[in-house]
Subunit: 263 residues, 2 copies
DNA sequence: CTAGGCAATTGGTATAGACATTTGACGGCG
DNA sequence: CGCCGTCAAATGTCTATACCAATTGCCTAG
């Protein structure tokens, strides 16, 4: 009726509301990291806000201090909080909180930037693997690979051309799937058990060929940003080899790095 | 006199030789991670080589299992080893072992690529801070900032042009230093206590201006790779703002990413 | 010879407590 | 007023132990 609106919690109240389920199969420290992480990412706690002392939160969650600290470690590595010995633990600045550089698919990337992604398959063929492909996947000469070329659009404008090679051996029958509508990565993970975990990208600048200028509907005087990507599963096995060429005037890549001093 | 050369240790012997100093001020788990990390990075252990079980190594180092596992956690996050419940812990593939994407200075970067770096100061002025600079550092209008432009060379060939802005307030008297010979980052850390920990880079492709073509001695038909960098201290305070333009035909940026599933 | 199950091995999670180190506040003293 | 010592509070490190969960391989019953 009056006074404090119900939907506005104080930071202290928000922290009070955190719960974990000790019977769940998920480890307690993961649950704590996820719950606290959600709260931190929601922006409900102002930057610099001090978290309650570890011992207090351990009691809240009913876990031991080592367990709680495992969660804190995850959050600190993600840049969500900062700990100082003797002082306390504090909510990080917004800019650090946003420094989450996860591996994203094209679709996720465009959505994150607030656009409408679209994909058109230019070609989808089974071809003898090119040398670079053979080397990356350790293939014999003559082995077949899927070669997929897609035009990627954002808000109905051509933004990039993507070329991907994957050996047929790793995903027989891949051509049954409609890659204009379905995510390639999701398909690989769901139907072939190839969940990609890490990737190495080499980013360079080039002047586009006439062919690319036509496909991307490029005006003159625009360069392209070329990203060559090698992706791997968590065991380090090669997973996918790709090359994406973006319109230089419409796209830039954002990367985060950190110096590793002690950890 | 004959037989096994002394300088060739077996993997098992190499592991045997690891030691830590429990009286040192450095935490035991850091020492273990550094010692084991050095061994792993040296390439002395073949990929896939199984590490001794945790319990055995705990005894070797004379620490408890939790302590040892703190070290293992660091190494696994660095991609040096892989652990599998019930099976063991193994040395990672070379390509994962190299996936260390640390924040590097231009000099470190060129040295890592096996070139000879050089630096020429094009200009070093104190100017009213530009709007982008003011916004990044939260400066008042009219505040002064150092503006440093340097030509960066690799093996005597112009490779990039770097422009950096730093507020005078953060590092008064910076112009006393010779930035052709000394690292900017080292100077900032050593004399002003500004140790940069994280940075966000935006990488784009452009067609060079006439001025840049001249300075970089660029032939026609070559694009430039532009990297705009915002760097921060570990507390998230802004530290340096820079823009580097590389010759597109001589340089590409390499970045590593990982999907964060659970951790 | 094979299929099933059991036990040993290994990493994963968790506990309860101890001591170390750093920081900031408070208060006394010059 | 300022300096310094003390002390409490907070995070950092570490131990010794327990049990859980996944994997492997052996052993036995059929």
């Amino acid at each position: 009726m009056e006074g404090v609106p119900e939907n506005r919690r104080s930071p202290a109240e928000a922290l009070e509301s955190l719960r974990i389920d000790k019977d769940a199969p998920t480890p307690a420290y993961v649950q704590i990291a996820e719950a606290l992480g959600r709260l931190l990412k929601s922006g409900e706690l102002p930057a610099g806000y001090p978290l309650p002392p570890e011992r207090a939160l351990c009691d809240r969650f009913g876990v031991s201090r080592m367990t709680y600290r495992a969660a804190v470690g995850m959050l600190e590595r993600q840049g969500l909080i900062l700990s100082f010995r003797g002082r306390g633990t504090f909510v990080a600045h917004d800019r650090l909180r946003k420094a989450q550089d996860e591996l994203r698919s094209f679709t996720e990337e465009i959505l994150a930037r607030g656009g409408v992604p679209e994909s058109r398959v230019l070609s989808f063929r089974l071809v003898p693997a090119a040398e670079e492909t053979r080397e990356f996947f350790s293939l014999e000469e003559g082995e077949q690979a899927y070669d997929i070329r897609r035009l990627r659009l954002k808000d109905n404008t051509p933004l990039a051309i993507e070329a991907v090679q994957i050996p047929q051996r790793l995903c027989p029958g891949l051509d049954r799937f409609d890659l204009a509508r379905n995510s390639l990565y999701k398909t690989l993970g769901q139907f072939y058990g190839m969940r990609l975990k890490t990737c190495v990208e080499e980013i360079s600048a080039e002047v586009p060929s006439r062919e690319y200028r036509r496909l991307l509907e490029l005006p003159g005087g625009v360069a392209i940003l070329v990203i060559r990507r090698k992706s791997y599963t968590k065991t380090g096995d090669p997973c996918e080899l790709g090359r994406t060429s973006y319109r230089g005037d419409m796209y830039s890549a954002v990367v985060h790095s950190a110096r590793r001093e002690r950890e």
